[in-house]
């Protein structure tokens, strides 16, 4: 048992390292991904909040001052980069539609873990590099941030990332039956864009939408971790977030397992 876990760990660590090395290969590409893009997003969102407060002509919105929204905009852009999977989902779909998946399914590993380890490896290095920016910016501009809460927020975001990967895996199961489904990824990620709270703090929505959105697992991607760091929410909401993601993981993994087996059974091995 102990030996098999060691093999599993070593194997997945190798996948994660592979992702890190292959992404750092094209440094300009990587730099744009982890630094430039979130910095630009932050800039755009901060300008929006300046305009909103100027138009509203008030000191607080929903009980929080302008600095809280600026801090939210700053952290949300970086957490959203971590909590979203574009590249690996596209690659997984491509493996199936082109038939290159054949070389993976004959190996002593699962397709799920192969890409999950790569995704986590890639996001790990992204987190280390990109979170330096909001940490420095929040400190420099004295934005409301509880630094001791950052580690737990990152843990929830990574936990949510496993759910994101499971959903990607489910999309892949569909790829066995429908050849061109890259639009699924775009549609799904756009939906998550709203549900995660990247566009605006979810607690600004009126009831009953607010309660529903906060209970969905997607809030675990951006709103809950960022809300926790910027003191919009407390530990109880974080625990609810962990529970919500766990339940979703159990349900979706069970569904994915059944769908994967069914899809593989119908797969002819020449590409979907």
């Amino acid at each position: 048992m102990k030996k098999s876990f060691a093999v599993f760990w070593k194997r997945n660590l190798a996948f994660a390292k592979l992702a890190i090395v292959s992404n750092l290969e094209y440094r300009l590409n990587y730099f744009v991904d982890v630094i430039v893009q979130p910095v630009l997003t932050t800039g755009i969102e901060i300008l929006l909040w300046f305009a909103v407060f100027k138009g509203a002509n008030v000191q607080t919105i929903n009980g929080f001052g302008r600095e809280y929204y600026l801090s939210y905009a700053l952290w949300a852009a970086f957490f959203a980069r971590i909590a979203t999977s574009w590249m690996y989902e596209f690659r997984m779909i491509e493996e199936i539609s082109s038939g290159t998946i054949n070389s993976l399914i004959v190996r002593p590993m699962s397709f799920y873990e192969y890409y999950l380890s790569q995704l986590l490896g890639y996001k790990f290095i992204t987190t280390i590099i990109s979170l330096i920016i909001p940490l420095i910016a929040a400190h420099y501009f004295n934005l409301p941030t509880i630094y001791s809460r950052v580690p737990l927020a990152v843990v929830l975001c990574f936990y949510y990332l496993i759910l994101v990967h499971t959903i990607s895996f489910l999309v892949c199961c569909v790829a066995f039956h429908l050849t061109k489904i890259s639009s699924f990824t775009v549609a799904k990620n756009l939906l998550f864009w709203i549900l995660m709270g990247e566009l605006f703090p979810l607690d600004l929505t009126p009831e009953p939408y607010k309660s529903i959105l906060l209970k969905l697992p997607f809030a675990g991607g951006v709103f809950l971790p960022v809300g926790y760091i910027t003191n919009r929410i407390g530990l109880n909401e974080m625990i609810t977030g962990f529970i919500s993601v766990t339940i979703s993981l159990v349900v979706l993994n069970a569904l994915a397992s059944v769908l994967w087996k069914k899809s593989l059974a119908t797969y002819a091995g020449t590409g979907a």
């Binding site: 755009i44 300008l47 639009s183 709203i194």
Partner: protein, 265 residues
Amino acid sequence: MFLTLKKYLSLYKAMFKASFISDLEYRANFFTRIMTDIFWYIAQIVTFEVLYTHTQKIGDWNLKQMRVFLGLLFIIDALYMIIIHENLENMSEKVRKGDLDLLLAKPVNSQFMVTLQKANTAIIGNLILGLSWLIYSLNGLGDFNYLRLFWLMLLIPCSLVVIYSMRFIFSASAVIFTRSENLQFLWWQVYRIGMRPDSMYFPWFKWIILTIIPVGVIVSIPARALLNPPDYLILLWPLCLVPILLYATHRFWNFALKFYSSASS
């Protein structure tokens, strides 16, 4: 000149027809593309509807005016997606796989081919949705002068040229850097600046997005033409910008091609 124009028009007609047939082949993808944009529209609408529950104005405009702005954004974006987007989106892949060779070898202008070879006909459904939203939001204004819509015949084509030119420069950089997917994502961030009214930005930043990085021209100026009393200096600015940007794309394409070293060979 006329014959050349006729040749390119008939070529585009043939490519559009081929794209439509090709799009219908993958029906699930066809409908998901429509759904994708619906989610995007919802994201934009929800953001502003939620924000306006906490404020009366963002920039110069109230909620009803912002709805008109969004309607224009949806229409311009849909037209861009139908005519141009897919071609420029895939440029990086064409470079890596060497497919660009095939386009360069054709006896027509290579920039024309890389720009217009594939139309995304599924988005026509979104264009109808965008038009419906614009009509709904204009009705909500109450005292709108519908004659102002004529401005759009002039300004929407200019907006398309502005999006095209900027996007093209981002995409053509793939010829220089070979792998530049994230530069393409970077374009999306730049484009997002133009998806918000220019009046909400600081004056110096507004000046930049109307001149140096003219994403502010794309929707804000057509929206001003509909919502504000006409300021001819601002409304005619896109007309001056169009030839400058088209010339810039032409020069940049020729420059980028110098770095191209056929990946397929």
